[in-house]
């Protein structure tokens, strides 16, 4: 390892100032503030007392919170996997010099542009057994057909997956597409000479090269998972019962409706710690590998 490093331009440090300020004031500050509030008895407004871990104890005695964590884990795995796969596939297929590329791209991306308050309602309707797909199937004569996940305790969370994948995979597609387009044409030529089928090129050559794009998408989706809220509120309101509760909704409920920002802060901190526990090893492994490769 180098003891010293080549001097870095002064301008580089200047350029980092906005980021440094943002990190220190907005993010680090908020995190510390939140941590502080989480050990107080704050209700609507932050209080300055100190109540120790009582908010945390209450939090972990709260079934709904535990369920939320469980739900978001299931949801997250499915959502991220589905978005990455579908997004990548869409990007690949759109990259085949197809007709009406612009229109197709817009079609796959449009859900991202629409407020979930409205589209969530549409999904709620479509998935509702009395109104939506199941009803249509019944009318078409498939009397036995059932598709009532949204009202099913055990399946409701999957409907959230469907709707949010519908919303987010277009963005993943755009991200992948921008990566795909960056691959040097010569590599494609080399692969054609080697007689490698196109799909195989995508899987074995292009996909590994898209590593950075994939990791961007992954983080992006992960953030979405942790923050998933709109879709749940618009589609199931966490229901039936608490079957599709998620941490962000829990936090939002306590932050506003239930006016208990102490508990909400504790929940945020726990959420953050959980994320850290998941991300840190990944980050570490990646950095290690990068350091080795450099």
């Amino acid at each position: 390892m180098a003891k010293k490093r080549q001097s870095v331009s002064f301008a580089a440090y200047v350029a980092m100032i906005p980021m440094a300020l943002t990190v220190l004031l907005a993010y680090l500050g908020t995190m510390l503030w939140t941590a502080r509030v989480s050990v107080s008895s704050s209700r609507t407004f932050p209080a300055s007392d100190f109540v120790g871990a009582s908010q945390y104890i209450r939090l972990f005695n709260n079934e709904r919170w535990l369920l939320s964590l469980q739900n978001v884990a299931v949801y997250g795995v499915l959502f991220i996997a589905a978005c990455l796969i579908i997004g990548f596939l869409l990007a690949v297929f759109i990259d085949q010099k197809v007709m009406a590329e612009g229109a197709l791209r817009t079609i796959f991306l449009y859900p991202y542009a629409m407020s979930f308050v409205a589209t969530g309602l549409i999904w709620q309707w479509i998935l509702n057994p009395e109104l939506g797909i199941q009803e249509v199937l019944h009318k078409l004569g498939f009397a036995g057909a059932t598709f009532d996940w949204i009202v099913d305790q055990d399946m409701a969370i999957y409907t959230i997956v469907i709707a949010t994948v519908w919303q987010a995979s277009g963005l993943v597609m755009a991200l992948m597409l921008s990566g795909l387009r960056g691959v040097d044409e010569e590599l494609w030529k080399a692969a054609r000479i080697d007689g490698i089928p196109r799909w195989r090129v995508y899987v074995s050559i292009v996909l590994p090269m898209l590593g950075p794009s994939v990791s961007t998408a992954f983080v992006l989706l992960f953030v979405m998972v942790v923050k998933v809220f709109d879709a749940v509120v618009a589609m199931t309101q966490g229901g039936p019962g608490t079957a599709s509760e998620v941490p962000a909704k829990f936090i939002m409920d306590y932050l506003f409706g239930r006016a208990n920002i102490g508990l909400a802060s504790a929940a945020s901190i726990v959420l953050l710690a959980t994320v850290l526990a998941i991300v840190a090893p990944l980050y570490y492994v990646r950095n290690r590998r990068a350091a080795k490769g450099a």
């Binding site: 040097d184 010569e186 030529k189 080399a190 000479i193 080697d194 490698i196 050559i205 590593g211 490769g293």
Partner: protein, 361 residues
């Protein structure tokens, strides 16, 4: 073994006509070298044979079948890219074996070929490295390796040894020749190294501006260049040229200008020369005998303007009435610039070109 026949090939890239009605007939199992100045369309030609560039018009036949619009993978070819085009995320071994694995070659066979290629290319210790961690020459060798493990019927090499040191290059040259014999594959090989071209080629095509100027054995091209371009392009230094006229003096045919008079009666003219034809006389440096300026027969004097030591020999540049004439000396005799030396032309091995069409007479 497949022949490669190209008929009236025309290729446009980005609006430029890069190749214009090119014809080339490479026999099955032949080793053909493409030679030509930078940007003349050699890579483009290889890519079009490989099916990586759409032809504008014309036809490409490989192994007797029309392959103009066939997919690269159906053409039975391998190609070493000038820019390597290695798969950046795969290590050396995977780069070489990827194509084979896809094509379902048995594992043992893959291992055999990869080992052989990596031995030949001295890549053994690097098999697990990614391209980004290799030196330029090492990358180039991986590119070669990737092509040769395919053992294709037609192998296309685009300046495959350009970034290798002389010693390795010599070894690989020999290995490639070996490979050619062993596989019996047709090989089309672009190089700028004339030694490589001369030693490898069964036939050599000299290109210029997308057009083949001459396609013949190396010796023929070297000794009897088809036109002025070929004459000057080959050889290092290139042919010495003297402008002048052809004159008949009785039975003798003489090349004449103000300072020179060379008897070319024995020159194998394609057509009997007419009277007082403008022409250019070409003489290879090694066909110029250098001596002391003591007024020998057929010799003229000139002063040395530059001496280039080349290791095994030296190149002398003589200033002959404003023209630079190159000659080669083998011995170790002391030569100074400004020194006056005589030179004489070995008339048996000269070339003559038409003054206007620049074609060989």
């Amino acid at each position: 073994m497949s022949n490669v026949a190209i008929r009236n090939l025309q290729i446009q890239l980005g609006g430029n006509k890069v190749i214009e009605s090119l014809n080339l007939d490479v026999k099955a199992g032949e080793f053909v070298v493409l030679l030509g100045p930078s940007g003349c369309g050699k890579s483009t030609l290889l890519h079009s044979i490989a099916g990586l560039i759409d032809t504008t018009s014309g036809q490409i036949e490989i192994g007797g079948k029309d392959m103009t619009w066939a997919d690269p993978k159906d053409r039975g070819i391998a190609l070493v890219f000038q820019s390597y085009a290695l798969y950046p995320t795969m290590n050396v071994e995977a780069n070489m074996s990827f194509g084979l694995r896809i094509n379902g070659t048995p594992k043992a066979e893959i291992a055999r070929r990869v080992t052989r290629a990596s031995d030949m290319l001295q890549l053994g210790p690097l098999l697990k490295r990614k391209p980004a961690n290799l030196s330029g020459g090492q990358r180039q060798r991986v590119a070669i390796g990737r092509a040769i493990v395919r053992e294709a019927d037609v192998m296309l090499f685009d300046e495959p040894l350009s970034n290798l040191d002389a010693k390795l290059r010599t070894e690989l040259r020999r290995e490639l020749k070996q490979l050619h014999k062993q596989l019996g594959a047709t090989m089309i090989y672009v190089t700028h190294d004339q030694v490589e071209a001369m030693t490898l080629a069964q036939r050599m095509a000299v290109m210029k501006g997308g057009v083949v100027q001459q396609f013949d054995t190396p010796a023929n091209i070297y000794n009897e260049p088809a036109n002025l371009f070929v004459a000057t392009f080959l050889g290092s230094p290139g042919m010495n040229l003297f402008k002048g006229r052809l004159e008949q003096e009785g039975a003798r045919t003489l090349f004449r200008n103000e300072h020179l008079s060379v008897d070319v009666t024995d020159y194998p003219f394609k057509q009997p020369p007419g009277g007082k034809q403008e022409c250019v006389l070409g003489v290879r440096p090694e066909d110029i005998d250098i001596g002391n300026c003591d007024g020998a027969d057929n010799a003229v004097c000139a002063s040395v303007s530059l001496v280039e030591a080349m290791g095994a020999h030296r190149v002398l540049w003589l200033d002959f009435h404003g023209t630079q004439v190159a000659g080669i000396v083998q011995d170790q005799q002391q030569i100074e610039t400004e020194q006056e030396l005589s030179f004489s032309i070995r008339t048996k091995r000269v070339s003559l070109f038409d003054g206007t069409s620049e074609q060989r007479l």
